[in-house]
């Protein structure tokens, strides 16, 4: 029997309140996705190596290897335990509840402006290329072309926000979905960062908030279910803990704290962390320009 360490409030509610059943959607070393029978939503079981995140239950395991869990294995709930066939039993009651709480965008932007400079330099030096951040030497024509399109479309979206025009936001955002390498395409990752900033309370670009929530419906067919789930949560202001902590640090913390928090974001996936960080930066820069 494995204990759950902490869980996303909504996921725990789903497990307890409904007769939750589902199938295994995909399995990785540190995460396992489950598709709920009820509403086709994707939920995640993550090992201790992962941070807390929307729709995610962190369990007391180091790795999911060697459990022989396969796609399509049945998932059910019995006596406060989440069961995957006979292969994994997870006790739910031990989980502490967690919910993403984004910070409020501050009136005083001094720290933010200072921190931004270092954060951008750090990403420039240590961020992972291949997605939004261009590699000096792309490995293939495909990568070069992907980078070019990402560059072009993220810039269009940024300028659109600066001009405070509403008409093209949805088109430009949709054009990014599903674009780029990795399981969660770089364009999706960038949008996750940007959506998070749009959802900060008092955010100068919060006028786009309702647009995020409406455009998400158009995005579903454009990307895979795992990435879409993350994107949808972000469109409602829900992002994983490391992103939330980083936003807090860059708005209110010191440079050292910002870099520490940034490292944890950059560690997400391969280039995903860098792509998310650049989405966050794009949103914050727009905020600085718009908010004065």
């Amino acid at each position: 029997m494995i204990h759950a360490k902490s869980g996303d409030d909504y996921f725990l509610q789903q497990i307890v309140a409904t007769a939750f059943t589902g199938t295994v959607h995909s399995v990785f070393k540190h995460a396992l996705n489950i598709r709920s029978d009820g509403n086709d939503e994707i939920f995640t079981l993550a090992t201790k190596a992962m941070d807390r995140a929307p729709n995610t239950l962190v369990i007391d395991l180091d790795t999911l290897d060697h459990l022989y869990i396969n796609q399509q294995d049945r998932v059910s709930v019995r006596d406060n335990q989440l069961l995957i066939e006979e292969k994994l039993q997870i006790a739910i009651h031990t989980a502490t509840r967690w919910q993403c709480q984004l910070p409020i965008y501050p009136a005083d932007r001094t720290s933010l402006k200072m921190n931004m400079i270092r954060v951008k330099q750090f990403i420039d030096l240590h961020g992972k290329g291949g997605g939004i951040k261009r590699n000096d030497l792309p490995v293939s024509e495909f990568e070069a072309e992907t980078s070019r399109l990402l560059q072009q479309r993220t810039t269009l979206l940024y300028e659109e926000i600066l001009n405070q025009r509403l008409d093209c936001f949805q088109t430009y955002a949709t054009d990014l979905v599903g674009l780029g390498p990795g399981l969660t395409p770089s364009g999706d990752d960038f949008l996750v960062g940007l959506f998070a900033i749009i959802h900060l309370e008092n955010s100068p670009c919060s006028m786009y908030k309702p647009l995020c929530e409406s455009v998400i419906k158009m995005m579903q067919p454009l990307t895979n279910e795992i990435s879409f789930t993350t994107l949808k949560k972000a469109a409602h202001g829900q992002v994983r803990e490391s992103i939330c902590s980083f936003i807090h640090a860059i708005l209110y913390g010191t440079e050292v704290e910002s870099i520490e928090a940034l490292r944890r974001v950059l560690a997400i996936g391969s280039s995903s962390g860098t792509d998310i960080a650049l989405g966050l930066i794009s949103g914050l820069e727009a905020n600085i320009v718009l908010g004065g």
């Binding site: 060697h66 030096l125 240590h126 961020g127 992972k128 000096d136 030497l137 490292r263 950059l266 560690a267």
Partner: protein, 475 residues
């Protein structure tokens, strides 16, 4: 483009040796780094490092590499087949009525430890060379008896390894290279000769094995013209959860399953056959010696290859641990003091009751099973005082000191990795990692028997002596 310019345009991936902080700094910059669990080669002794450097010189190093490749090729390709059973006097080279074979490197009667002395005395009584144990001690000390290591007679012996003329032996033939290896039969139980016990019950059992068990097995195998492919059976046993040194449940089932039809076909009375099956069923250890002979048979084929640093023998006589390497042909032993065995004891015994590490059974680790294949036998990790993760770790760790993986015999839990094969003394000394050996614990006094099981390591000294010798001889 030069390799340096290639480096400039690729992602840096560092192996860090020494100060661990440097690795942390590299990781903090999102580059890749792996920290070595490094220890100074040869424990930092200058003469050992000098010897290592000597044999690392390009020309010699190439010869050694080639010789080692050949040695492991022979180990891996060897196909040991059980072809029969017979009394030692009839088959073992150099055996006489007054010869007693023993485990480990050469040793005199005076220097033997308690369990081995106990076994020798019991064997002398069994052979009728002495009327009782008291007289047996006198005969042993008289000089009339020839003591000789099993290993020097193409044989191996479990624990004390005491083997006398009329005992029945496995006969295992290497179908690939033609050599033959021998070992005697399992006495099952704990209170047995090989563990140093020697009372009437022990001698009576030996007599029954000589008069009933042995002949039945001999005659049964005469009916089996093809013999029993031990390598294939060993591979199966590992997949069934044995490591074939301390756990033999699966192997014993497979072996008796193969022998049964022929035993039934022999002309012996049913009650005698029944007694044989009961005897086999009384302990899972029955096939333990069989695997030892199987390993010995493969390793002997790889012995005597000039310039090879592959270990072909690890054996202990209870006082000394002896190692032979392929490149030093014949009976050149490199020795160091036998070590304590650490592990759980039977109720009522304490660690200070243990005799030191003893027996030729480390031949299994020399081949790549036993402690080296710990990951195949999660059921007995507690017996050797560990966890499953540790067990997996052992098998991986042994890869550090071996030359290749034997793909004929694989470990399912490690993605069907072949067993680590061909211990290279250079790697042992460079890494400071000693071979891990699963083994039983005998009581230090004569006459008592097995009191526990556990794991142990050879003394580094034996490997160091070997290294110094070859560096003087070859460099």
């Amino acid at each position: 483009m030069s390799k340096i310019n290639e480096l400039f345009t690729s992602k840096i991936n560092v192996i860090n040796v020494g100060i661990e902080l440097f690795k942390d700094d590299i990781l903090a910059q999102n580059a890749s780094a792996t920290h070595l669990e490094w220890s100074p080669p040869g424990g930092g002794k200058p003469e050992i490092i000098a010897a290592l450097n000597n044999i690392d010189k390009a020309e010699l190093a190439e010869k050694i590499e080639a010789a080692n490749r050949l040695a492991v090729e022979k180990i891996v390709n060897s196909q040991p087949v059980l072809i029969g059973f017979d009394q030692a006097i009839n088959v073992v080279p150099g055996m006489t009525k007054k010869t007693i074979l023993h485990a480990g490197p050469p040793i005199t009667w005076e220097n033997m430890n308690g369990p081995m002395k106990g076994a020798v005395m019991g064997a002398l009584v069994f052979e009728g060379l002495a009327k009782d144990l008291e007289e047996a001690a006198e005969v042993a000390a008289s000089g009339d008896i020839t003591f000789s290591p099993c290993h020097e007679h193409n044989a191996v012996g479990s624990m004390a390894g005491v083997t006398s003329a009329s005992m029945f032996m496995h006969i295992v033939e290497n179908k690939t290279y033609g050599n033959i290896a021998y070992t005697n039969l399992s006495e099952q139980m704990a209170k047995i000769l090989r563990m140093g016990a020697n009372d009437d019950s022990v001698v009576e059992r030996l007599i029954w094995m000589r008069d009933v068990l042995g002949p039945i097995l001999r005659d049964a195998m005469k009916l089996n013209k093809d013999g029993i492919d031990l390598r294939l059976m060993l591979a199966q046993a590992l997949h069934m959860g044995d490591e074939c040194h301390n756990r033999n449940n699966a192997g014993t089932s497979l072996l008796i399953q193969a022998l049964t039809p022929y035993i039934l076909e022999t002309d012996y009375p049913v009650e005698q056959k029944r007694a044989v099956f009961d005897f086999v069923a009384s302990s899972d250890y029955f096939s333990g010696p069989t695997w030892m002979a199987c390993c010995k048979c493969a390793l002997d084929a790889a012995h005597g290859i000039e310039y090879s640093t592959v270990v072909t023998t690890m054996a202990r006589n209870g006082v000394e641990f002896g190692v032979r390497i392929s490149g030093m042909p014949g009976n050149t032993w490199f020795t160091g003091p036998a070590q304590k065995v650490i592990g759980p004891m039977f109720a009522g015994y304490k660690p200070e009751d243990s005799g030191l590490d003893i027996g030729d059974s480390a031949i299994t680790e020399t081949y790549g099973i036993g402690g080296f294949a710990m990951a195949t036998a999660p059921a007995i990790v507690a017996l050797v005082g560990g966890t499953v993760d540790e067990a997996i770790g052992y098998s991986r760790k042994m890869k550090e000191i071996t030359t290749t993986e034997n793909q004929n015999i694989t470990i399912p839990l490690l993605n069907f990795m072949g067993i680590p094969t061909g211990i290279d003394i250079r790697k042992v000394i460079q890494s400071g990692i000693l071979p891990i050996i699963n083994t039983a614990i005998a009581h230090k006094e004569a006459g008592i028997g097995m009191i526990g099981a556990g794991i142990t390591n050879p003394p580094m000294e034996a490997f160091e002596k070997a290294l110094i010798t070859i560096s003087e001889k070859w460099a």
